[in-house]
Subunit: 499 residues, 2 copies
């Protein structure tokens, strides 16, 4: 390892012309990017929703060798259009109905433009007071919109997967007699085995968090669900009692409002009672479904959540805010801080600020925190609660409309309740009885719709039955899109039947 001596620098040498892109050049290409975006939003229905490229096709069009000399922004933007765009799956298209659609919006784009120009790190209050304070205010605005009681501490994470990990780390921290924070868990013969509970329908992020935290995937008890795919509280309590009898220490329950598969809703009030009785942390994953409560008609979906220890809602799912924006609310911020706060010397402020305002880096894994509240602030104000509620209500109306059409078609089987804006169904032609054949039929049907480019659907399995999901939630999706989808469903159904 040879360290060049400082004398190899010519300190007197004239500095080269360096720095950033010239502001005038930025203005020119910035306008061009705005025009591109405005055109994209205008023509969004013209793109195939699911990208039709073959694996490796984009890579082959890109140079494999890193660029040495600077290139012009004009060339880069041209390549964006010709090389990158064909490889985009258009989450922003009204025909994107797969997974849960994740909808950004105009004010969110503008919020992120400004946030990117500032490029602040909201790790400490002082490293951008407005970023921390605006985050606290916007998160509280959303709390009000959802009808949750104050005070409720909240902050923005990248994803619900990170948020669940944070919540369960706090739940583990709450077992303070075990000193896991300091001593860890491996090889400590005095520790009880830990376990947590969720439903068979819970998101895989629960397993992932349990694996990362060293709880182990086998210690995630997947509680059976009722006919509507809701966690069964009676079976939950029986399982907890069995675990306690077997020497385990149960420490958390994760319930879901709007499961990923079918958007079912776990019964929160009885789960609250059980968690209080056995001293368990109750985390509610309302990443998708929670947003519905912005519409006062839908407040009931969060019933009981005011007593949960933590709750996640993702504005980047159904609040028309660009990813990433996932909010973790908690009634026990002190336990999250206990789990994550480590303030090294280089981040200590010598001018101690008001303790009532948090340093948000102390509430999670990431030290660096983007100024994500800016886009959320712009979205919440631009649409207002009234505008957001009207859009959410419209998506639910469209889902019910589609469901009505399906109910009238004897070849369509509706597979789950539609509590939000997700419709779960499968085709069931009268001449097919065999479940395997039905699964293949529906898979072929889905792949044909997806290959056609106007719509992108995804699937799940319910009791082994391949079930198609239509998740309405994109801000651009309107009644005409749903009518066209229904026409496409009918055409492809006929096609596959005669195949």
């Amino acid at each position: 390892m040879t360290i060049p001596s400082p004398s190899s620098f010519d300190a007197e040498h004239e500095p080269m012309s360096l720095g950033d892109m010239d502001p005038q050049e930025f203005r020119r290409y910035g306008y061009q990017a705005v025009d591109w975006i405005a055109d994209y939003l205008t023509n969004i229905r013209g793109y195939p929703v699911l990208s039709q490229v073959a694996p490796g096709e984009i890579q082959q069009l890109l140079p494999q060798t890193a660029p040495h000399a600077p290139e012009s922004m004009q060339d880069i933007l041209a390549d964006f259009d010709t090389i990158i765009m064909p490889g985009i799956t258009h989450w922003n298209a009204p025909g994107f109905l797969a997974y849960y659609s994740m909808s950004g919006s105009g004010p969110g784009i503008i919020g992120e433009m400004l946030s990117n120009a500032l490029n602040v790190n909201a790790m400490l209050w002082r490293t951008s007071p407005a970023a921390t304070e605006l985050e606290q205010v916007t998160v509280d605005w959303l709390r009000q919109m959802l009808g949750l009681p104050a005070p409720l501490f909240g902050f923005i994470n990248d994803t619900a997967s990170s948020g669940i990990l944070v919540a369960l780390a706090a739940a583990r921290e709450a077992q303070s007699d075990l000193a896991i924070h300091e001593q860890g868990m491996a090889g400590r013969t005095e520790l009880p085995r830990l376990c947590l509970y969720t439903s068979q329908e819970a998101h895989s992020s629960v397993d992932k968090a349990a694996i990362v935290l060293g709880i182990g995937q086998e210690n995630v008890r997947k509680i059976a669900t009722d006919d509507d795919l809701r966690l069964d509280p009676v079976i939950l309590e029986q399982t907890i009692q069995q675990d306690i009898a077997a020497g385990y220490r149960p420490f958390a329950v994760i319930a879901t409002i709007g499961t990923t598969s079918t958007s079912s809703i776990d019964p929160i009030p009885p789960l609250v009672t059980i968690c209080q009785k056995y001293n368990l942390w109750l985390h509610v994953d309302a990443s998708y479904g929670g947003a519905a409560a912005i519409d006062p008609e839908m407040r009931w979906v969060l019933a009981g959540c005011e007593q949960a220890d933590s709750l996640i809602i993702n504005p980047h799912k159904w609040v028309f805010t660009q990813a990433d924006c996932s909010i973790l609310y908690t009634r026990k911020p002190e336990l999250i801080k206990a789990a994550f706060s480590l303030v090294p010397e280089f981040l200590r402020s010598t001018d101690q600020h008001d303790e009532s305002i948090p340093n948000l880096m102390e509430y999670g894994i990431a030290l660096g925190r983007r100024f994500r509240a800016l886009k959320l602030w712009m979205v919440l104000r631009y649409f207002g609660q009234d505008g957001l509620a009207a859009r959410i209500r419209e998506h639910r109306r469209l889902a019910q409309l589609l469901r009505q059409w399906m109910a009238e078609d004897p070849e369509v089987e509706i597979m789950a309740p539609t509590l939000f804006s997700l419709v779960c169904f499968r085709l069931h032609p009268q001449n097919i009885d065999d479940e395997n054949t039905l699964n293949m039929f529906n898979e072929t049907f889905m792949n044909r719709i997806n290959a056609n480019g106007h719509f992108f659907l995804s699937h799940t399995k319910i009791d082994g039955k391949l079930t198609l999901r239509i998740a309405i939630g994109n801000i651009h999706t309107n009644e005409e899109d749903i009518q066209q989808l229904w026409g496409e469903i009918q055409r492809k159904k006929t096609e596959v039947k005669h195949w």
Copy 2:
């Protein structure tokens, strides 16, 4: 819990005028935002670097009640200027010399604008093939620029803190005989105690990862450093041997290239030898320092890293790319995948794609993944390796220039080597001998500089001595800024001396 019946929807009702901001309106406010950004970048030297607001001041200017009715974008942007801007600490200002400066650039802003308009989730290859493939290509371009040998798998995380957690989860997974993934660690009497090693100068994210993973903070062995604050390999090996003798199982070593406090460099080649001998995972945290290797003159800083198991470099630190953009490289992607891969039914593709192209959600905690490669691609092409290297070299030249001036001032004590572009120093007037008084003197001096608004410095402690840090790395910082800083240092020094 009352679920309204679907009949409460009037499916025949005319839909309201909903949807997103009209594209023409977006164009108007998009232009306005571009103009604002261009002006901001032009006038960046006119803002106080460290925000001067009092705690709670921004919150008090914001309505505490959530907005019900929609508001105009014009009003929102006006409030951004008058309410939010005074609360911004300008990470983008050339006078931001605290922590490690984190520098975005024009092409990065444009990349993020387009990424935000697309708002894709790059969780699976199919959910945007271009996002996954461009990520693989750009990460490989950077590998080439750094002079690291192929093949080397890499992907983008939000922060190095998340990346270290991922790397150490893989290191824990490598202890496959322990079945931690499945069974966890608590209450398993057959498990050995686990421990890992890093230097006293390592970043707090190592402790945080160990806490989250259930290893425990006490099982992070902080190895002593030599006079240049580098991890001492001899003490490391002795400690490993003692731990093994005491029944521990060592499983990882974390080395740093460019420590947060003083930018020291741990000696990688001897650490590689030790890790191979004891079968330990070697993770290298080169978040800040690694970028220097883009300049061929500085390739030596990564010597030995080609044999590390994992390595992190943050383009959002010194590669002029907007946050968040932290790259984790690894020679053992299969172990990261083993630690994190959980593919639920709803994310399975029925059209299996080429196995050689990864689904990047399988390599970390977050399921949702923003299209972060786009900004990196634009930055790498716009500046090219030559342009990036020239800027990095210039920052190093400016640091050496400042150091020369300091060396000529008998009242300035240089506190650490300047291997990159960080200068660590303290004032040491000849009439002050007492260490406590010196610490107070330097703290007062730093707070005065920061309060003045032209520059923002941070501090660390070396052997209990309060040490000031000047971290040059912002793309706008030029020789004139450093001259003005030196003038300010002289003026404030005199002021505090006569205080």
